[in-house]
Amino acid sequence: MAATDAAHDEAFELGRRQFMQAAAGTLAAFMTGCDGGIEGFFQKTFRELSPEELKGVVARMEKDYAARWGKETKISTTPPREGVMFGYGLDLSRCLGCRRCVYACAKENNQSRDPQIHWIRVLAQKKAAGVSLEGANPYYDPDLVPQDDVFYMPVACQHCRHPQCTKVCPVGATWQEPDGIVVIDYDKCIGCRCCMAACPYGARRFNWGEPNLPKEEYNPNQHYLGNRPRPRGVVEKCTFCIQRVREGRYPACVEICPVGARKFGNLLDPESEIRQIMERKRVFVLKAELHTEPRFYYFYAT
């Protein structure tokens, strides 16, 4: 009995060793296939990283992305500035519904082309009904815009002051920065989509499939929390072009709008155009009854 037990144990011992070796080998192979490799697997989240660690992480990412897309990549980690709180204005009396903002955003922010992701959605609504999101149509495609009886309302992330999405994230992958931008750490996101359920504005998008971004269309000027290429299975959304606004520039949608319907700036600066809009114009927000207090203000200039 003892002999067979010993033999049995030894056989099992070898089996266990082989099993552990095979498991470790599989795990290693699995992790190297993951985005970022083994270092990516053990990487801490953005808010936990010390400045030196962050530099190392950014350097690794820049190298990885440059290898994948063939362009030298610059990932900035510019922090928010003191005394800056961003606000966005959209002039409903001017928007034509031309969708140039939608495609300029996709071009600037490295969004997947197929499966297609658009952060901005332009809702066409009948003027007679007023602002009525139930009757809104994002798939309008007439020959010419604007049509006479329709007005156009682009909707993207509203960067609310009381964001519901950040409340429900079970892992803390999304939070609001001091300058007002609601950001996502794509390496922390587990893809549960609770935030998408919580957002009243339908602003968040999910990477259902492997994102497809051709090399020619890759934008190498990136921010860690902004437009770096996302992996499959994470949530993304408008970041107010954080890679641009933290350097003092306007977001891409503001710059491309052919009729100047989009306004952006620092709400705390009394001379900024967004502050003047707040003081002088008729301003409203979407779904005010939910008390999310968005930073995205719709107004009528005339």
Binding site: L96, R113, G135, Y250, V254, S272, E273, Q276, A301, T302
Partner: protein
Amino acid sequence: MQTESPPESGLSAHAGVYPLYVMLPIFALIGLMALSSELTADRKMFKLEEGSQAVVPHSPAEFEDILGGFDPFPPADAKGNYPTPPPPLSEDIFPCTQCHEDPEDDDPERRELEMEHTNIKLNHGDKSRWCLDCHSFENRDMLHLSGGELIPFTESQRLCGQCHGTIYRDWRLGIHGKRTGYWDGKKRYLLCVVCHWPHEPHFKPLKPLPPPVRPQFLRPQDRPAVDETQPAEEH
């Protein structure tokens, strides 16, 4: 052993547990009938049937001529100021005194022009004004304000601002007009005439870029072969 009878449940205490046995099947039957009628109804439930079929994903690269490189601004000068770009005058038309040397050769009467400048059909307050209400008669290289002051073409916003005062105020504050550049720096200004042709200022409608792909067509294998030129039926 004497066991206590179990306490009477509230339900059996009533004389009517039997109505429950009757109502439950009736409600279940009604529910099933409603469900089957909804499932078999050939009805467009969502207004989103309107508009494009939105099957094909379009990429920004297809619209590079629209999205790429509209920047009429020269870079900032040594002091960090952005010079306003010059007015977009037609080629060789300026200076006007090439032809209009002497005002005495011209006719200041209001009329329909037949010899020259026939390509300009004024559609901007044309019932109340004509060319010389903005263009100075004495010096064709200048415009004039209502008080008679002459201003160059590079300051034409003052002329527009006479009638469009609220827009002019909004333009000075940065609320009106296309914004590019830096939100925390000096504003870059475009003259009114860069966007609005003063003789017919109303913007022409333009073709919108394609709508987003509908969620049911996100995967390539789910996309039917459709003729994208035909819109979906209107609801």
